[in-house]
């Protein structure tokens, strides 16, 4: 049967939009085949090269641990230290660009065409934004980051040979508890507020615009159409997609490995579960198994449901800590810390002439490279769930609201921990290792067993939601932008990610060195993001006209 339908041109998505006229058929480079009982529909070069390159890198890291460790560590250090000005300056551009889109007339362009309606309600949408974006980070850094900056600020500055050796942000606040707290929160909010979400928003908006309004496949290369034109369907596009798969899979696998280590520490603290490779491998297997069920159940039945459960649990924990802790002080602090953020923002985001080199390179530059290396994954996932929103609504909801929630989270968790030190002299959280700070802070509050258990469940489920959404993203990229590729493919990526995490976990320094490598990919992606800003603007102007 050859029921080909006549080609009468591509109709508009829903209402007016500016479709790109290209001869490329989505999936034309794909191979559709059957391996045993499993059907496959994969993009020929991208799937095979990404898969083989990942295996080759894992072997390299395992076979030559010292050499690879040194290489990746040197790469990481050169990138974050040598290009700190570039990261800091570029992140400022992303924030300004996003804020500009809110006020410019192009902000009224709707993703999916002028008549499109949102695919998801606000609650499901927010839950998925957070779960993929930074949920897990909030669990670990909510207590530890404000405390670190507080301690370093309180310690004041120190220098050797004219170079600052302390880790305090800006000029620190030697011996002044109140000023150190304000500076600590300003720095923390700077790292978790507008800037990271602007990075995600740029990538997500580029992908959503070029897919929903321009009719191109939902894959990273599509955002490059204004620059590369039809060449995105060839090797330049293949390389962009392969890099994105690479950064996403290693980013997820290394985080999964570290996450298992941290969840193990929490379980040890709470239930005395032994710390060791066996427990960690069991945890990764468990997380992967739940993620597997989630990807098989799909975006609505799995990922969205888990994200909403997690959001609900996180909200409960937040409310509990807010009520059990010094409520009035926390709420006053929230407003005060926002003021401190605005006060210190110009100095913190200054890309040149910084004296606080350890802070600006070791914290800010590291964070920016980290968020940027994660942006293909998170951006693509956000794009997938954001159809039907106007650009203005999209930016407000992806940039401003998550930033405010992060500020609230940090104010509550970090605020309570700092109050415990300053007011009560309770230093357990301050002295604990990173993975235990949250649990030590909860120790000083009532119902410790219950809240710590919720904390561990949150950590694990946040990893599941990263793992399942990551598997969907990798599957879509390696299927040439098809979101309806056979389910066994996403199952493969989910298991592959868990397997890579286990192998790296069992090797000496494997996780650390490959995470360094992933973060180093932040540098080329920063250039990519800057180009995306221009592509978005050009694309939006065409929509408007």
């Amino acid at each position: 049967m050859s029921e080909e339908t006549p080609d009468t041109g591509i109709p508009q998505p829903e209402g007016n939009a500016d479709l790109i006229d290209t001869d490329y058929e989505i999936g034309q480079d794909n191979i559709e085949t059957q391996i045993g009982p499993f059907g496959l529909d994969i993009h020929n070069p991208v799937f095979l090269i990404s898969g083989m390159a990942i295996v080759a890198f894992v072997f390299y890291a395992l076979a030559l641990p010292e050499q690879s460790g040194e290489l990746f560590s040197w790469l990481f250090s050169s990138v974050t230290k040598g290009f700190d000005w570039f990261f800091i300056g570029s992140a400022n551009i992303f924030v300004l660009f996003c804020l500009l889109l809110i006020v410019l007339p192009v902000g009224s362009v709707r993703l999916g065409g002028s008549e499109a309606t949102p695919d998801y309600g606000y609650i499901g949408w927010f839950a998925m934004l957070f779960a993929a974006g930074m949920g897990i980070g909030l669990m670990f850094y909510g207590v530890s980051e404000p405390m670190s900056h507080f301690a370093s600020s309180l310690g004041g500055t120190a220098s050797e040979g004219g170079v600052r050796t302390d880790w305090a942000p800006l000029g620190g606040a030697a011996g002044d508890n109140e000023a150190a707290t304000r500076l600590a929160f300003a720095a923390t909010i700077y790292h978790w507020g507008l800037h990271p979400w602007a990075i995600y928003a740029v990538v997500a908006l580029a992908l959503a615009l070029f897919s929903y309004n321009k009719g191109l496949p939902l894959t990273i290369r599509s955002a490059f159409y204004p620059i590369l034109g039809e060449r995105i369907w060839g090797w330049p596009g293949h390389i962009i997609d392969i890099l994105a798969v690479f950064a996403t899979l290693f980013g997820l696998a290394t985080s999964l490995g570290f996450g298992a280590t941290q969840a193990n520490a929490g379980l040890n603290e709470l239930f005395g579960v032994p710390i060791g490779a066996t427990t960690e491998v069991i945890l990764i297997t468990l997380i992967t198994a739940v993620a597997l069920i989630s990807v098989i159940r799909g975006l609505d039945g799995g990922v969205k449901v888990l994200s909403e459960i997690n959001m609900g649990l996180a909200f409960l924990l937040l409310i509990f800590v807010l009520i059990a802790g010094p409520t009035a002080a926390i709420l006053t602090g929230f407003v005060d810390y926002l003021g401190a953020y605005l006060q210190y923002l110009p100095a913190l985001s200054n890309p040149v002439g910084r004296e606080d080199v350890n802070f600006s390179q070791g914290w800010t530059s590291f964070y920016w490279a980290w968020w940027i290396s994660w942006s293909p994954f998170v951006g693509m996932f956000i794009a997938r769930v954001s159809r039907g929103r106007t650009v203005r609504e999209f930016i407000i909801c992806v940039l401003l609201i998550p930033s405010l929630v992060c500020v609230l989270w940090m104010s509550v968790f970090g605020g309570v921990a700092i109050q415990q030190v300053v007011q009560d002299g309770y230093t357990a959280a301050q002295n604990a290792p990173l993975e235990l700070k949250l649990f030590k802070m909860l120790d000083a509050l009532p119902l410790t067993q219950i809240t710590s258990l919720i904390g561990i469940v949150l950590v694990i489920v946040f990893f599941v939601t990263s793992s399942d959404s990551g598997s969907l993203v990798i599957d879509t990229i390696t299927a040439g932008g098809k979101v309806d590729a056979p389910v066994p493919q996403r199952v493969f990526w989910c298991i592959f990610e868990g397997a890579v995490a286990i192998v790296l976990l069992l090797s000496v320094g494997g996780l650390q060195s490959l995470q360094s490598m992933v973060i180093s990919t932040g540098l080329p992606f920063t250039v990519v993001l800057l180009i995306m800003c221009w592509a978005i603007f050009k694309g939006l102007l065409a929509e408007k006209s």
């Binding site: 049967m1 050859s2 109709p11 508009q12 997938r384 159809r387 979101v483 309806d484 590729a485």
Partner: protein, 138 residues
């Protein structure tokens, strides 16, 4: 006995569904029923269509062609899902209710070991649909 016969179609793989399409048309002729072709796609550009509107157009054209080919009355119903691979069964069961279908004719495959863990779409639709379901296996 039957007024509306619903047949799920995957426009990208029509050859593999030949038997079900012909069976649905034959039943429609026998009972004087209308065949409703249901296609499930996504709002994201896909191999079949760059936009939802293009998908609807293609499905309508397909239904018109089938009407001419088999001499039966046909309709088309395009459904859109966030994740068509995993939501397919639910979409089809809902489409059967929405289109008032009293019979679903759909293509499936011969039972295999994997079905024990991962049932075919046909099996799941047969399990949950509130009307008769005919599976045409190939």
């Amino acid at each position: 006995m039957f007024n509306k016969i619903m047949t799920p179609v995957d426009l990208a793989h029509l050859t593999e569904q030949r038997a079900a399409l012909e069976h649905a048309a034959a039943l429609a002729k026998l009972y004087g029923a209308t065949v409703v072709y249901v296609g499930v796609s996504t709002n994201i550009p896909s191999a079949m269509a760059h936009t939802p509107a293009e998908f609807k157009d293609k499905l309508n054209s397909f239904a018109t062609e089938q009407a001419k080919l088999h001499g039966v009355t046909t309709e088309a119903d395009a459904e859109f899902s966030h994740d068509p691979r995993t939501d397919l069964d639910d979409c089809l069961v809902e489409a059967a209710v929405k289109t008032n279908a009293d019979m679903i004719v759909m293509q499936s495959h011969m039972p295999k070991a994997l079905d024990f863990f991962w049932p075919s779409n046909g099996s799941k639709v047969a399990e949950h649909a509130k009307c008769s379901v005919t599976l045409v296996r190939s």
